[in-house]
């Protein structure tokens, strides 16, 4: 598989269809692979790897890369306009154009599509190639019971079939159901214990493809909630709960937050809880599965169920 990907990347580079390749780079050991940008066939031959350790979801890197491409384009256009104002006969300078090749595993293609829907990536600047997951065995519940094995939105596929019929994963919400079954106090203790290990390194947020705010609310120095301070131990819980709320309906369940957590906090369970609730209340929905559908949190229909605490209580005559 690795050889196939390298061969295809080289082909696309030499044809001039793409100028850059976003992939995975060999590390010091087998298991410490780093996302990297390759520009030549030599670099690909030397360092490009694709194996079961290539877990990083590369879709978020496209936000910055395509933005830089677009900035270069608009700068060139602006310079041309200004040159024309000085001299009506000025020749237009060429507009720099770049296309970047990216390899996406099925789950990553959902993040990619979601970012496209949110206009965070310029589609024309990307040549996306769908590739299969190499191994999900040691990914545990988060990766093993993933959102889907069916890739979407790519320009071509190598080793995966976008038309394949994949049976829905029935085990995906089992861990969430276990936590739901706990008593309120048990559940509180469970999360307090998990969050007590948090060092607030922000790795979960910074790696999350759904977290692409230019300025995160937790980076606002004027607020009492800046990224590095956890003034009380409860604030750690707040950070994670607010983050999970903010990505609700947009989280594709790629599991990067849990993979990168140095303290192994099962953050994906918070997101899956929201996904489960959305599925049950508003009907099955997979963020990033297509370009058209609107997430439950961004649409309103008159017959939407009103599942709020206030509503539930009022049904009961205001009694709890």
């Amino acid at each position: 598989m690795q050889d196939k990907l390298i061969a295809r990347a080289k082909e696309l580079l030499s044809e001039g269809k793409v100028q850059k390749v976003v992939g995975w780079k060999k590390g010091l050991f087998d298991d410490d692979i780093t996302p990297a940008v390759f520009t030549t066939a030599e670099e690909l031959d030397k360092d490009f790897v694709f194996n079961k350790y290539c877990k990083a979801n590369l879709s978020k890197y496209l936000v910055g890369i395509t933005r830089n491409i677009e900035i270069a384009k608009s700068t060139a256009r602006m310079n041309n306009t200004m040159a024309k104002q000085r001299d009506p006969n000025a020749q237009d300078k060429p507009i720099p154009s770049e296309v970047v090749l990216v390899f996406l595993k099925p789950s990553d293609t959902y993040s990619f599509t979601q970012l496209l829907k949110e206009s965070r990536i310029t589609r024309d600047d990307v040549y996306a190639v769908g590739v299969p997951c190499q191994d999900t065995v040691d990914g545990g519940d988060v990766c093993g019971n993933c959102a889907g094995k069916k890739p979407v939105s790519c320009d071509e596929y190598i080793g995966v079939d976008p038309e394949a019929v994949v049976a829905p994963n029935t085990a995906r919400m089992e861990e969430v159901a276990k936590i739901e079954a706990m008593s309120v106090n048990e559940r509180y203790e469970f999360w307090r214990n998990e969050f007590s290990r948090c060092i607030r390194c922000n790795a979960c947020r910074n790696v999350c493809p759904a977290c692409t705010c230019e300025k995160c609310v937790f980076d606002n120095n004027a607020l009492y909630t800046t990224q590095k301070v956890a003034e009380t131990s409860f604030e750690e819980s707040l950070f994670h709960i607010i983050r999970a709320w903010h990505v609700a309906g947009r989280c594709t369940d790629c599991g990067e937050c849990s993979r990168v957590c140095p303290q192994n906090i099962p953050l994906y369970l918070l997101n899956r809880k929201y996904i489960k609730d959305i599925n049950e209340i508003y009907g099955d929905y997979q963020a990033g599965a297509d370009m058209e559908s609107k997430p439950a949190m961004l649409r309103f229909q008159e017959d939407d169920p009103e599942t709020t605490i206030v509503y539930d209580r009022s049904k009961d005559g205001g009694n709890e």
Binding site: K25, G27, L28, F29, D32, I33, T34, P35, A36, V37, A56, K60, Y61, N193, E194, R197, I199, R200, C201, N202, A203, R205, N206, V207, D219, N221, Y224, T226, Q227, K228, V229, A230, E231, R259, V260, P262, Q263, N264, I265
Partner: protein, 345 residues
């Protein structure tokens, strides 16, 4: 040398832990280990490293510095420090202990002395445990740390050899600890410890990064390294989180924040990370615009600026935590190798 059988170590913990706070590495439910306070039934972790370094004991993640309390037109300044009681940290590794030396150089051995740090430092007794099974990510020997001696900056050295823990006091605080623990310990000869030391030294020698070449990190070449093209590649995958800085035993930057209370202000300090985008934010400008400048700062500080200010001592101890925990697996070993392989340095 004094010793105690491995299966009796709990009785030693009980003896010490019932008199003063005792902290030791304990397995948590995530499959990793972290330091925790000893309680009856606490079991010592068998893991080589805790996820967080031991710096937390002297330089906690958040620390209440001072409070200003207003009543009417009076403002009262309240120092929240109570005299910290003596405490014992058992089972940190030589790398973590060397990390304290790196922090001491800045917070104790320079003016002004950091009185909060000093207060904790004076009350803590550090017991360093030799690393019987160093990991592939360890590279303390690169920085001249001898894991078999269990010594740098520790008050007591400890070895687990042949089913027994052996103790050797290095300082007055260490002697006091051994004195306190004496009733649980028995005399033993040192042959097992010597064999253990030899065994560890051999294992360390075989580690992949046992001797990284640091000869290029010379003060005279600072600008050459600073301006090198390697930093583009080094910073390319960085997501700008603070994992490396927060698990690092020598990262000691902090920020100070004021929180309004009902009748005044509570001032706290908290860890800060040069990897964060607002680390150098000033009123008008942020001189480090991109992740490239931020990543470069971190590695230049560890390998260039710190040694230039502190007699050539690097502020990396080779514990390997950043190697293990970086979300994108970019780390100081890769930087050292990139510098060595670069043709523009």
């Amino acid at each position: 040398m004094l010793s105690i059988a491995k299966d009796k170590i709990d009785s030693l913990f009980e003896l010490i832990g019932s008199k003063q706070p005792l902290y030791l590495p304990v397995d948590n439910n995530s499959g990793k280990a972290d330091f925790a306070k000893w309680q009856k039934g606490t079991k010592l972790s068998e893991k080589l490293k805790t996820t967080r370094s031991a710096k937390d004991f002297f330089f906690p993640k958040t620390e209440h510095l001072v409070s200003y309390e207003m009543s009417g037109k009076e403002v009262k300044v309240v120092d929240p420090r109570k005299n910290v009681e003596d405490f014992v940290i058992f089972g940190m590794r030589a790398c973590d202990a060397r990390g304290f030396t790196a922090i001491d150089n800045v917070y104790l051995n320079m003016n002004p002395v950091d009185s909060y740090y000093k207060n904790r430092r004076e009350h803590g007794t550090v017991i360093v445990l030799a690393c019987n099974e160093p990991a592939k990510t360890c590279f303390c020997s690169t920085f001249g740390i001898d894991a078999s001696l269990a010594k740098p900056a520790g008050d007591v050295s400890c070895w687990l050899a042949d089913g027994k823990y052996y103790f050797e006091a290095n300082t007055d605080k260490g002697k006091a600890f051994v004195e306190n623990a004496k009733s649980a310990l028995e005399d033993a000869d040192t042959s097992a410890v010597e064999a253990c030391k030899k065994d560890i030294a051999e294992k360390v020698e075989k580690l992949p990064f046992a001797h990284l070449d640091l000869s290029k990190f010379q003060g005279k070449d600072m600008l050459k390294i600073f301006n090198s093209k390697i930093w583009d590649k080094v910073s390319e995958p960085c997501v700008g989180c603070g994992t490396c800085t927060y698990v690092c035993p020598t990262c000691m930057c902090f920020d100070v924040r004021d929180f309004a209370t009902s009748n005044g202000v509570r001032q706290i300090r908290c860890w800060d990370s040069c990897m964060y985008n607002d680390f150098t934010q000033m009123a008008a400008e942020n001189p480090r615009h991109t992740q490239k400048e931020r990543s470069r700062q971190r590695f230049m500080h560890k390998l260039m600026y710190y040694p230039m200010a502190h007699d050539g001592m690097f502020s990396c101890v080779g514990c390997g935590r950043c190697v293990e925990n970086c979300p994108v697996n970019m780390n100081i070993v890769k930087v050292i190798k990139a510098v060595n392989e670069s043709d523009d340095i």
